[in-house]
């Protein structure tokens, strides 16, 4: 890999006197779809916070699109669309769908400046991409969880980022809506040539969709093609429960967690 979009160089991140991530080194190419798995508290979200400069690096550096977190955070943030976990936002705050999506353009607009007609057209365009254009004037609080996630995905996409960081976008929504959302993300990945890092607790969401899987648990335990990582022994280590990979009639693998501890 000569010119990767993202480069983690010996990255460690600490919260006070506790190391949350240790010596992460990896490279991700433009256009790759990366799944990130690991148990709770394994540092998955912390890795995103490190990329975004929201959690200072204890050691090492992260490069995105030719810039590094230590030198040029502003340029890095401009090239990223971020969909945080749902608990960071407050859906009771008044706001229409169009207002929420427009927020994704505020950093490029700058302080004291109002959105232009072109900005409004861009908002309409990305809402069409996520199939939520008919909800443009609806209050965000009136939408279901799955619909809200589509709107937040539109907000992450509106600034035309190179890299999309998705932190458990399918949490707290029903399985059918989850699958439709994942299909949409896969479609956007293909059509927009996006690089995507996707945190999930459901490894079945990754099968057949992502290029490589990153298994984090404070350290980078494994990083490789899906077929190499989604194996029973590795997944059993990830979750501390016996995990089986079974094959469905169509040959598609499916990961199930048994009720026996390891």
């Amino acid at each position: 890999m000569n010119n990767p979009l993202i480069r983690f160089h010996n990255v460690s991140i600490a919260y006070g006197d506790r190391l949350a991530l240790r010596n992460i080194s990896a490279e991700i190419e433009q256009g790759e779809f990366i799944g990130i798995i690991g148990p709770n508290g394994s540092g998955k979200t912390t890795l995103f916070l490190g990329i975004l400069g929201l959690q200072p690096l204890f050691r090492g550096d992260i490069g995105v699109n030719g810039h590094t977190v230590s030198d040029s955070l502003k340029n890095i943030r401009e090239s990223i669309g971020y969909l945080p976990q749902r608990d960071s936002l407050d859906p009771t705050v008044p706001g229409l769908v169009e207002d929420i999506v427009m927020m994704g353009l505020f950093s490029t607009l700058g302080l004291f400046r109002r959105p232009s007609k072109e900005d409004n057209m861009r908002v309409q365009e990305v809402l069409e991409m996520v199939e939520m254009a008919d909800a443009i004037h609806e209050p965000i609080g009136h939408l279901s969880g799955g619909q809200q996630q589509r709107v937040f995905l539109a907000r992450a996409l509106v600034s035309s980022p190179k890299l999309l960081l998705l932190d458990e976008p399918t949490s707290a929504i029903d399985p059918g809506t989850q699958m439709r959302l994942i299909e949409l993300i896969s479609k956007l990945h293909r059509e927009l040539d996006l690089t995507i890092m996707f945190i999930t607790h459901d490894v079945n969401h990754l099968i057949g969709r992502v290029d490589r899987v990153m298994y984090l648990n404070k350290e980078l335990h494994a990083f490789g093609p899906t077929a190499e990582i989604l194996k029973e022994d590795i997944l059993t280590r990830v979750y501390g429960q016996a995990v089986k990979v079974i094959y469905l009639e169509d040959g598609q693998p499916c990961v199930i967690v048994s009720d026996s501890h390891v």
Partner: protein
């Protein structure tokens, strides 16, 4: 009814009522939405400690009120950020500390000072020309700040983490907003008093929240309710000889009651209806993609 135009003191009170009502309710919108309503009370009590310190030491009470409220707000912010303590606990500590300081300063005074008590309960009919100038200056500054950074304040209120991730300078913008809140509280003290200024910040914003899903419209409603309550309160106080601060709060609460009763937000869809809408949308999407 309009004989107030012929009395300078009533005209001054009217101007103060309009500006203070709109100012306090504007900052109130963001404080209420961020769950920081109580900081209004914290700042007011710190300002009162400053007022009493000013009278005790012979310095300008309003300047002292401003310095005390700024120091208090800054320390509350620092404790919340670095002390791993939530805002409500930090505000509660300073609320009590500054009130204790005010009581000590009053105790150290040689004699009873009626003017100090005026700041405690407020009297909009005692506004002077100098007070009006101070109120106008703070209003111009605050409206320019909130108007200029409206979209950023909305973003921070909705999702602070994402605002930071997007490169919005969250800490300086919100610290500046808290500075405007401190100034607003200080210039409102004489009109509504330490105890009741909190109500002027919270209630119009809470009433406005009942009526809209757009933050811009919420600010407009809050300003309307703020002005309505302060001006009506001022007139009722004058014509019925009632305490002005208390009258303003009662009117505010009455407005909130009406807003709550007529709120369109109460007409929510039943969960089954929402699920059905979601299913219809999903089916429509499936049909489109196939």
């Amino acid at each position: 009814m309009f004989d107030f135009i012929h009395y300078d003191f009533l005209l001054r009170s009217f101007i103060a009522a309009v500006i203070v009502g709109s100012l306090a309710s504007t900052v109130g919108v963001f404080l209420v939405l961020r769950g920081l309503s109580f900081i209004g009370a914290g700042i007011a009590h710190a300002a009162f400690a400053g007022v009493t310190f000013g009278f005790l030491t012979g310095t300008n009470p309003l300047l002292m009120a401003f310095l005390f409220s700024i120091a208090s707000t800054g320390l509350i912010d620092l404790i919340e950020r670095y002390g791993e303590l939530k805002y409500d606990a930090a505000i509660g500590m300073f609320f009590s500390l500054t009130m204790a300081l005010a009581i000590i300063f009053i105790g150290l005074m040689d004699s009873y000072n009626a003017e100090v008590m005026g700041y405690l309960f407020g009297n909009i009919l005692s506004i002077t020309v100098t007070d009006i100038y101070a109120i106008i200056a703070v209003a111009l500054l605050t409206f320019a700040y909130v108007g200029g950074l409206f979209k950023e304040l909305h973003f921070i209120t909705f999702d602070e983490v994402l605002a930071r991730a997007s490169g919005i300078p969250v800490t300086p913008i919100f610290s500046g907003f808290l500075l405007m809140t401190s100034l607003t509280v200080v210039v409102s003290l004489k009109s509504v008093g330490v105890i009741l200024v909190f109500a002027l910040i919270v209630i119009p914003a809470a009433a406005a929240y009942q009526l809209t899903h757009r933050i811009g419209i919420m600010v407009v409603w809050a300003i309307v309710f703020g002005i309505l309550s302060t001006t009506l309160g001022m007139f009722l106080s004058y014509y019925l000889d009632l305490p002005s601060g208390a009258t303003i709060v009662v009117i505010n609460s009455f407005i909130f009651g009406i807003a709550y009763l007529v709120s369109p937000k109460k007409k929510k869809c039943e969960p089954e209806a929402l699920e059905a809408t979601e299913r219809e949308r999903a089916m429509s999407r499936d049909q489109t993609s196939s």
